[in-house]
């Protein structure tokens, strides 16, 4: 039976199978005559390949390279750009770039052959940091100045603002790489059957995969069938990166004629997949005599790596997030995505917003501390409200409930009393962060690029199929989509299916990204369900199809990046309490309190799951997840060295929701998957800087870094 309110929790449809270990992931699936593939990578940061010494291959074993790309096919992967080749084209431009793929039926034998392949190189100079990339130390990697994009945002009159400044506060704040560490590593199986390529993949975006490889194979998209395998976590790491595995794999599948599996071991997955972009923000902020901000000039750079991938879209969200929940007068933001020989960075939960928000939250905290004002109170002065102007000169359409949310979080955490008790530098501190996340694609992406379509089908027996391309990857979509439909159709959940998508069956409702699935596609489910309900008795079988409708009043110019960057926002407040050990600088997190506005929760338990996971992942990013790029490669590449938090590290969390229904989301729901990641790292760092009485300028805030700051 349906529950009374849409928010009331029901049992997830995948709960028993996943908790019980019955679920079949890609490595559990059986295929006849399955072959195994290993990517042969260029283990140089920048080098010309001069010779590949290949042992004699036994029958049934293949080494596939760019020479095997079918006639008319291109050695380029169709992502947002096409710069990333399928196989390194004579030159390796980052450590781990694919040169070939070794395939065979026996894994021991494949390993043995791999060990005897020797590749000779001529070394070329490489750069890894934002500064060295910008300085073009080794010449040009991309464009005319080693950037993939150079954006400017202007709000108000920055020069006039600075002219009124009484003092100027400068800051340089940075964030590091972050590994996704989805529980299930990257994996897929590709096969070539009667002219069709079938890719069964752990992935977020089946239609992206199809598009990525079509030009490589020089074939019609309809001949590429992508079936999503149960996906054990993704966090953005399976948005574009599966393209990089699928492209060489389909080339091999055509040559070998057998299904081929590529599944990364954990160490390969950490060493050789894309990460969150490292970022830097250089701030110059003018204050008047009362300490009010009169102008702000920000230079944001992200380390994009050797190929563009989706870096420019990440950069856009990073710079749009520089004022996040604040209405600050007279702002200029420059944003550049910098080309280097680092492993290309890519999508990761929050997609640039966590970087932008961290940089800005810390800078505002530093200003407040400089003025001797508590950061939370200072930031409150600038809370944006409905009708205010955003950083892209758009309109804030939402009712903003931040003051209420702060009140709730402050009460739950006893913020003001603890702030009074814990003197700055006392070893104890309360940190507060505020954040929002634009839900869905940037600007008019949904309207111009995605154009989502969705079908629902009633069968003779009354069973309903929801046909869409968004995937269950742990976030609960295979429960929440049917839940929306069940509530409208007034039929039991068991009578509705929402299976893993197959591109030859489902319409393209877009990728599973950008906190868009439940809000944008869920709205389509709602509308399709309403239509199906109206036509239910029309005939024994009824099929309806709906298309995305762009919200009225949302204007956007993608050329100038002006207007309403997002149709709506989720909102958050996070408070963290810490105690710093004076001998070891280890941080004990005493409490975490959050309040989020996600519109309306479609299922409270699922929302809380997202809040808990996102906040803890963000705290890991802020405190533990050190990932150094040393000698051109990731230095912490095992689970023994790359530290994500355990429940012992962040034991206690209280989370609350406030309702704030959004008319273009189903039942008023907004996107939340990324929102809940965006702010906790800043709250943690803020708490530490209160506790030690000195500014924190980067994450992760490790004990080593805290000790360095304490000693300075």
């Amino acid at each position: 039976m349906m529950t009374k309110k849409i928010s009331d929790s029901i049992r997830r449809v995948d709960a028993v199978d996943k908790a019980g270990g019955y679920t079949q992931y890609i490595s559990d699936m059986s295929f006849d005559e399955l072959h195994y593939g290993r990517l042969v990578r260029g283990l140089r940061s920048h080098a010309r390949i001069t010779h590949i010494d290949l042992p004699a291959l036994p029958d049934g074993y293949y080494f596939i390279t760019k020479d095997h790309i079918p006639e008319g096919g291109k050695n380029e992967i169709q992502q947002i750009g096409t710069d990333w080749p399928v196989f390194a084209d004579d030159e390796v431009t980052f450590y781990g770039e694919t040169i070939g793929i070794l395939v065979g039926p026996d894994r021991e034998k494949v390993l043995e052959i791999e060990r005897s392949i020797s590749i000779e190189y001529e070394k070329l100079e490489a750069v890894f940091t934002i500064d060295d990339g910008l300085a073009m130390k080794t010449g040009l990697i991309n464009g005319t100045n080693n950037t993939y994009a150079d954006y400017h945002l202007n709000k108000g009159d920055v020069d006039a603002g600075f002219a009124r400044a009484d003092q100027i506060i400068e800051d340089e704040i940075t964030t590091g790489f972050q590994e996704h560490l989805y529980m299930e590593p990257q994996g897929m199986v590709a096969q070539y059957v009667d002219g069709d390529y079938i890719i069964t993949a752990s992935c977020q975006c089946p239609f992206y995969l199809r598009k990525a490889v079509a030009n490589v194979l020089n074939t019609d998209k309809e001949h590429i069938i992508v079936r999503q395998a149960v996906t054990g976590g993704a966090f953005g790491g399976k948005e574009h990166f599966p393209d990089i595995i699928a492209a060489p794999l389909v080339v091999a599948a055509r040559v070998v004629g057998k299904p081929i599996q590529v599944v990364f071991d954990r160490k390969d997955d950490i060493s050789f997949t894309a990460k969150r972009h490292p970022s830097r923000g250089i701030f110059r902020t003018g204050l008047d005599k009362e300490g009010n901000i009169v102008a702000m000039d920000v230079d944001v750079t992200i380390n994009a790596g050797a190929y563009m991938s989706c870096s420019n879209i990440v950069l856009q969200r990073a710079i749009f997030s520089i004022n996040s929940v604040y209405d600050i007068p007279n702002v200029h933001v420059r944003g550049r995505s910098v080309a280097t020989n680092a492993f290309p960075s890519d999508a990761f939960r929050g997609f640039g917003a966590p970087q932008g928000i961290f940089l800005a939250e810390m800078h505002l905290s530093h200003i407040a501390s400089h003025l001797g004002i508590d950061p939370a109170s200072y930031k409150q002065r600038y809370f944006i409200s409905k009708g205010d102007t955003t950083i892209t000169n758009g309109l804030m359409h939402d009712e903003v409930k931040l003051p209420l949310m702060l009140e709730k979080a402050a009460e739950a955490s006893d913020l003001y009393e603890k702030q009074r008790l814990y003197a700055t530098g006392s070893g104890k501190g309360m940190g507060v962060s505020f954040y929002n996340h634009g839900a869905g694609f940037t600007g008019n992406g949904e309207k111009e690029i995605i154009k989502a379509r969705l079908r629902m089908k009633k069968h003779r027996n009354g069973h309903v199929d929801i046909l869409l391309s968004n995937v269950e990857m742990g976030q609960g979509l295979q429960t929440t989509f049917p839940k929306i439909a069940a509530a409208i159709l007034e039929i039991p959940m068991e009578d509705i299916s929402c299976d893993n998508p197959d591109t030859s069956i489902v319409p393209d409702s877009g990728p599973t990204v950008a906190s868009r699935s439940l809000m944008v596609v869920g709205k389509l489910v709602e509308r399709a369900s309403q239509q199906l309900k109206e036509r239910w008795d029309e005939s024994p079988e009824v099929e309806v199809e709906v298309k995305y409708i762009h919200p009225e009043g949302c204007q956007w110019d993608q050329e100038t990046l002006q207007g309403d960057a997002y149709p709506t926002y989720g909102w958050g407040v996070c408070i963290v309490e810490v105690e710093v050990d004076p001998a070891t600088a280890e941080v004990e997190t005493k409490g975490i309190w959050t309040v989020h506005d996600v519109g309306i929760a479609i299922d409270e338990m699922i929302v809380h799951g997202q809040v808990n996971g996102g906040v803890i992942q963000s705290l890991g990013y802020g405190s533990l997840e050190k990932l150094e790029y040393k000698d051109g490669r990731f230095y912490q590449n095992t689970l023994a060295d790359y530290m994500i938090p355990t429940s012992m590290d962040f034991p206690m969390m209280s989370s609350q929701l406030v309702d704030n229904p959004y008319e273009n989301g189903p039942f008023g729901a907004k996107g939340l998957g990324e929102l809940v990641f965006d702010g906790a790292s800043a709250a943690f760092a803020d708490a530490v800087q209160q506790a030690i009485g000195k500014n924190i300028n980067r994450i992760p805030v490790t004990p080593e870094y805290i000790m360095e700051v304490m000693n300075s």
Partner: protein
């Protein structure tokens, strides 16, 4: 293919060890990880493997005249629960890895790993622990600190098996063990610190101070410890900075993927100072 042996008893194990020099594997929590290979293929051990996990002769633990004996097959979990085991050792063991690994891993394996970051090893240094090395020709007993000769290097002949660990009797009025890990659970050490002291009539009667993961082997100085013997609160107070300087000169950590030399050194000295200052107060 890797050649493996599963002997019926210790005697047979020793014979196989002499004949094949097969490497003993008890819990396998280090070796299986170190020699892991591509999923679906066998671990790539470069030598034959001798399974000893099931040998009952190695499973005993108990007090004897010369101290607590811990068989080489005794798991970390069993030590964690053993009331007769020294407090510092139980503390160290309880913070190692995760419960599932502690149910498999052995203290003997941890010692044979000869890692300068082995948490238990730091405590065993402070406890003057010894190991019994047995071969078909007999048994010899050496101290843990003589047994471990460098990172991954140990004084173990290729026909010997470690069969027992002996922790001599001793009582301490002050016990301090601190593991500074990469996170709060299931973590490797950035450094570890073990300090034990016994006071008698307001003076230091026995003291041992050991630092793990700050050099090629655990750092412990008999010379400095000797200086501390007999001190009362005032003496100790007067000598705090001299003692600090002694260890400052001895501790030479490195930068690696887990931490930095600067941090390791400063934390070592901070924990030392903290321990000695507490001792001043309590003498």
């Amino acid at each position: 293919m890797v050649k493996t042996y599963r002997p019926e008893n210790l005697q047979e194990a020793l014979r196989i060890r002499r004949e094949t020099h097969a490497v003993p594997l008890a819990g396998g929590t280090d070796l299986m990880v170190r020699y892991r290979s591509w999923a679906g293929t066998l671990p790539k051990f470069p030598w034959p493997v001798l399974f000893i996990n099931h040998l009952t002769e190695l499973k005993t633990m108990g007090l004897r005249e010369d101290g607590l004996h811990i068989g080489a097959g005794v798991t970390l979990s069993e030590i964690e629960r053993e009331m007769e085991a020294p407090q510092a050792l139980r503390a160290a063991v309880s913070e190692m890895a995760a419960p599932a690994l502690r149910n498999l891993g052995t203290l003997a394996g941890n010692i044979c790993n000869a890692s300068p970051a082995g948490d238990a090893v730091c405590v065993l240094y402070a406890l003057d622990a010894q190991v019994v090395l047995t071969s078909l020709s007999g048994a010899r007993t050496v101290s843990v600190m003589d047994f471990i000769t460098g990172p991954g290097r140990k004084d173990l002949n290729d026909d010997e098996l470690m069969t027992d660990i002996i922790i001599p009797h001793a009582n301490f009025s002050h016990v301090s063990y601190r593991k500074v890990g990469t996170r709060k659970a299931n973590a490797l050490s950035k450094m570890s610190f073990c300090a034990l002291a016994k006071t008698k009539l307001g003076r230091i009667d026995d003291v041992r101070i050991a630092f793990g993961a700050v050099g090629p082997t655990v750092v412990r100085s008999w010379e400095t410890e000797k200086k501390l013997l007999g001190m009362d609160a005032d003496d100790l107070k007067d000598h705090l900075s001299a003692i600090h300087d002694d260890y400052d000169a001895m501790i030479h950590p490195i930068d690696d993927q887990r931490s930095t030399a600067v941090y390791r050194k400063q934390v070592s000295l901070n924990l030392l100072d903290q321990f000695l200052q507490n001792l001043v107060k309590e003498l």
